[in-house]
């Protein structure tokens, strides 16, 4: 589809986000919630948090993927209608951070998602936790990839 099609423009103007917390420490979740507050207000860009992966365009993952969360995360990814992409927020989701080599984790989120969909489009937002500005910057980058 050419980059100038109506649907392509609509996709960039209305990214709906489904948030999956994969056993993180909640620090990233607080920063993600910050993005919705008056100071940053991502609804200005049409971003909406939705309650069902079926409605979402972007899967937002925070936290290292524990073994218990591996299957639900993969399921959430597969339930999303195409075109879809994932935003990995925080160093844990990107590369497991402090949980590297821990016994209870199944791997960083990118590896877990690529197990079921090798072609998945991913954008990494490292930080512990990343600032809301960083998350928004990552989101903008992701919209360029869509």
């Amino acid at each position: 589809m050419p980059a100038t099609s109506l649907f392509d423009r609509a996709l960039r103007k209305s990214p709906w986000v489904f948030h999956v917390g994969t056993s993180g420490c909640n620090n990233c979740d607080i920063e993600i919630a910050d993005c919705l507050t008056p100071r940053f207000d991502v609804e200005r860009f049409g971003v909406r948090l939705v309650g069902s992966p079926r409605h979402a365009d972007i899967l937002l993952v925070s936290g290292p993927v524990s073994r218990a969360c591996r299957a639900p995360l993969q399921e959430a990814w597969l339930e999303m209608p195409r075109p879809r992409a994932a935003l990995l927020v925080g160093v844990c989701a990107c590369s497991m951070g402090a949980y590297r080599d821990a016994y209870g984790v199944a791997g960083p989120a990118d590896r877990v998602i690529r197990e079921v969909d090798p072609e998945a489009k991913l954008v990494y937002v490292p930080g512990c936790p990343p600032k809301p500005e960083t998350i928004i910057a990552g989101l903008v980058k992701l919209l360029g990839e869509l």
């Binding site: 109506l6 609509a10 103007k13 209305s14 939705v50 309650g51 365009d57 209608p81 075109p83």
Partner: protein
């Protein structure tokens, strides 16, 4: 319906004041909804084109049909949207006093407006998802709750009677055109005690019909993950979003037509009408943003208790000539 006027009816249904116009107005009003909601929270909110882009995006996305779903899962969203648009056409036709005589009366509009709610119930149940089933069951109970007081409130102008130039005038008709003409003759229904009570009850019922907080139990983002609409994606979801937008335009217009005098055919009259509709929508949004969600038993007790009692009181007052 005469066959030579088919073109005119199609124009009414598809362009003005039906599909194209009502959709545009509905999307604009759902932007008002989100913008006012954002302003209440001291946020800037989405740009004006946001609902439009949302719908275009949903129309272009993949459709996923859950394995246990039957055909109705995909058909019902379109039925819901078509029914809402037909209801909108009938209401607008009467409100604007368009040529062509009476198209349908209050009862027809009332039934048509019930179809989107039923479509959500059936579609949610058809998806086979347990959360969607819970949402569908709540929506069903909510419909049982609000339909009774809403119908009674909308019947108030039918029973109203006035003294105009020394003789008693009563609407005594269910046709929307008749109600508009009665109000032109005898003054708007809402400026009598019975009409005011009716508008209050109808407002609260419409809040539930639109699925807005405090009656958003069927969609319940937080615990039911969008409830009955959970399994919908792509174009069918877009149809439900469009249906909601159409209802957001139709219900205030219906209330203004039945209780607040319809549209006077002059620039000032159109502006007044627009201001009334916008005022009702803003009221919906403010109620939505300043209240917590109620439980389903609380909602039912409210609709069958105080709301119905006030509606009965309004009917009695109307019959007594207030």
């Amino acid at each position: 319906m005469e066959i030579e006027r088919l073109g005119e009816w199609l124009f009414f249904y598809l362009v003005f004041p039906g599909a194209a116009f009502t959709l545009a107005l509905g999307l604009a009003l759902s932007w008002v909804d989100r913008k006012v909601g954002a302003l209440v929270q001291w946020r800037q909110g989405p740009p004006p084109g946001q609902p439009f882009w949302d719908v275009v995006k949903l129309l272009g996305k993949e459709v996923i049909v859950p394995q246990p779903a039957w055909t109705g899962f995909l058909v019902l969203p379109f039925v819901a949207c078509a029914a809402a648009l037909l209801a909108a056409t009938l209401v607008w036709h009467a409100a604007l006093g368009l040529p062509g005589g009476a198209l349908g009366d209050l009862v027809v509009v009332f039934y048509l407006l019930a179809i989107p709610g039923l479509a959500v119930v059936l579609g949610g149940a058809a998806s086979g998802n347990p959360l969607a089933a819970a949402g569908a069951s709540r929506e069903m109970k909510l419909i049982l709750g609000y339909e009774l007081p809403l119908l009674m409130a909308l019947l108030v102008p039918v029973f109203q009677q006035r003294l105009v130039e020394g003789r008693q005038v009563a609407a005594a008709t269910l046709s929307l055109e008749g109600l508009v003409r009665f109000q032109e003759l005898a003054g708007e229904a809402v400026y009598r005690p019975s009409g005011l009570l009716a508008l209050l009850v109808a407002l609260i019922c419409c809040q539930a019909k639109l699925g807005l907080v405090p009656f958003d139990l069927a969609e319940a983002d937080t615990e039911l993950a969008e409830g009955a609409l959970l399994e919908y994606s792509g174009p069918p979801l877009a149809m439900f979003k469009l249906t909601q937008a159409v209802q957001l335009a139709t219900l205030p217009v219906l209330l203004v037509t039945v209780l607040w005098g319809g549209v006077e055919r002059s620039p000032g009259g159109v502006a007044t009408f627009g201001a009334k509709v916008l005022a009702l929508v803003t009221l919906f949004v403010l109620i939505r943003n300043t209240n917590p969600r109620v439980r389903i038993d609380q909602a039912l007790r409210f609709f069958w208790g105080p709301a119905t009692a006030v509606a009965i009181l309004a009917l009695a007052l109307a019959r007594l000539g207030w």
